[in-house]
Symmetry: C2
Subunit: 306 residues, 2 copies
């Protein structure tokens, strides 16, 4: 019943009647915050490290993918270097190190994570360049969550998915399809970094000029990936833009009405319900709470806000 020593655990599904009442729908939370590394990314990382031949993996990550990759490498005795923005959540940097990952801090004002990873790969040409989202192996690994959600009865009308690079969305869509389920997939994205919403409207990938400065640090991506985009384009019905205030309110609601510690990006799905209160009225909605890794001071500040 406890977590697999080397694996991830099934998502945790629960309803709280007060959250459902507040949001005007039957809301089931699919919580990934109790995964070994505190987010859904462990599903992707374990799949990647166990399917590539290389023993060294290099990746750029705001944090959750980084710590998951480090944890996954530890399980299979591989190594990794994680390029992280200097201003990443402190808890995330510490976690990568605690799992034995090497942290490489870079300044986002000077270069992008992609640029930094390119430099690191030049230094270590034997390494596998692991991408936090734009890799078919990542999408395959994340399909496991879609498969779990597709098996829930009665079937959800909607699944609301926090969206950044699109790995989680593409994976869930793929898993749902694989099971032949009919659940409408909706993305939830910070409004200040709405590249995915713009992409879905435009019919092609829209890339932001720079990393968006949203409080949802797990969603500070500039664009969807070439592997995630086609799946999202076909499989995602809509992407809801969530304001920074709504993200913070969603974190508070999850705390108060569902005893759930979500990081800001992890609360995006609930934020989408605040952004579009009438869209989901009376429906059977699954909100994916994708991760819970947030600095105590940041979290306390959100709780004390109003």
């Amino acid at each position: 019943m406890t977590e697999h020593r080397r694996g991830f655990r099934p998502t945790i599904l629960y309803e709280h009647s007060r959250l459902s009442t507040r949001l005007g729908a039957r809301v089931t939370i699919a919580s990934e915050v109790c995964q070994p590394t505190g987010s859904f990314k462990i599903r992707a990382a374990l799949h990647v490290v166990s399917h590539v031949s290389q023993n060294l993996l290099i990746a750029s990550s705001a944090g959750n993918f980084g710590q998951s990759l480090a944890y996954a490498c530890l399980q299979v005795r591989k190594s990794c270097i994680i390029a992280m923005p200097k201003k990443s959540a402190r808890v995330k940097i510490e976690a990568v190190r605690e799992y034995g990952g090497q942290v490489d801090l870079y300044d986002t004002a000077i270069q992008s994570g992609d640029d930094r990873v390119r430099e690191l790969i030049q230094e270590h040409p034997e390494a596998y360049r692991a991408d936090a989202f734009d890799d078919p192996l990542v999408i395959e690994g994340l399909a496991s969550l879609g498969i779990e959600l597709a098996k829930v009865t009665p079937s959800f009308d909607f699944v609301l998915i926090p969206i950044a690079g699109g790995g989680l969305s593409a994976g869930i869509i793929q898993g749902i399809r694989q099971e032949g389920a009919k659940i409408t997939a909706i993305g939830a994205e910070p409004a200040v970094g709405n590249d995915a919403a713009l992409s879905l409207k435009a019919g092609h990938i829209v890339k932001l000029d720079k990393e968006p400065q949203t409080n949802a640090d797990g969603a500070r991506t500039r664009s969807l990936g070439v592997h995630t985009w086609p799946i999202i384009k076909d499989g995602m019905t809509d992407i809801v833009e969530v304001s920074e205030d709504q993200i913070r309110e969603a974190v508070r609601l999850l705390f108060t009405l569902a005893n759930t510690k979500a990081e800001p990006a992890g609360a995006l799905a609930v934020g989408a319900m605040l952004s579009r209160p009438s869209a989901f009225k009376g429906s059977n909605v699954c909100c994916v709470v994708s991760g819970g890794n947030v600095d105590p001071a940041v979290y306390a500040d959100i709780l004390l806000g109003s």
Copy 2:
């Protein structure tokens, strides 16, 4: 897979390697914070309301039992009056009301919860006096958690249980016995309200002069009950006293290393490991996190402390 509409859900079991490393043991959390009303009390309340003939129930509760009783009454169309201390956590008072329970606020400086309930029972002689812990029906209902824990493999060496009136402890001990499992049950009690620890040493129930002023508001009881005591006396090996600082540190560790929102009383088991770091070294320990209902401001204050 989601909660039973009218029931409680199985406890959620998970390990976080960083929490285990920090505490020096293999630590599995048994979390009750995602129960319908946010604590283990729903197991007791549902059992009571469905086994008594009366349609009105009256109880005194710091909060968690109160909201669980209100929720349980709502499920079976019964009514309840909950006597609550005026200084109960605001979220707990609100929750009782939201579930349709009638809240009766009393001043702990003037009378005890027991006194107030006696007055209410005189006004409503047709009612069932529901006790938060000292009722064989409560213990029977809570045995369900012991049964779940007894079934986990490999078997736990220790189960650490927050203790107030002793209902949860007695129930878990009874459930473990029923399954024939051999798990050492240890209580975790606020040091400033150590009546249970004193009772176990003295061999008889020790009652405090007044409600202890611990931050763990779920553990503000003056003594064990006549029904819980004999089971605890025989079945509990030891009761660890946890300081207020350790309770707060335990709340922070659960937040930081296990993405778990615990109320102070809910963090007592982890606090016991901080209080006795060598006692559980290298063991396979289950920490019962009994509830998660805490005011945001109180919680933020704990997170910001050091």
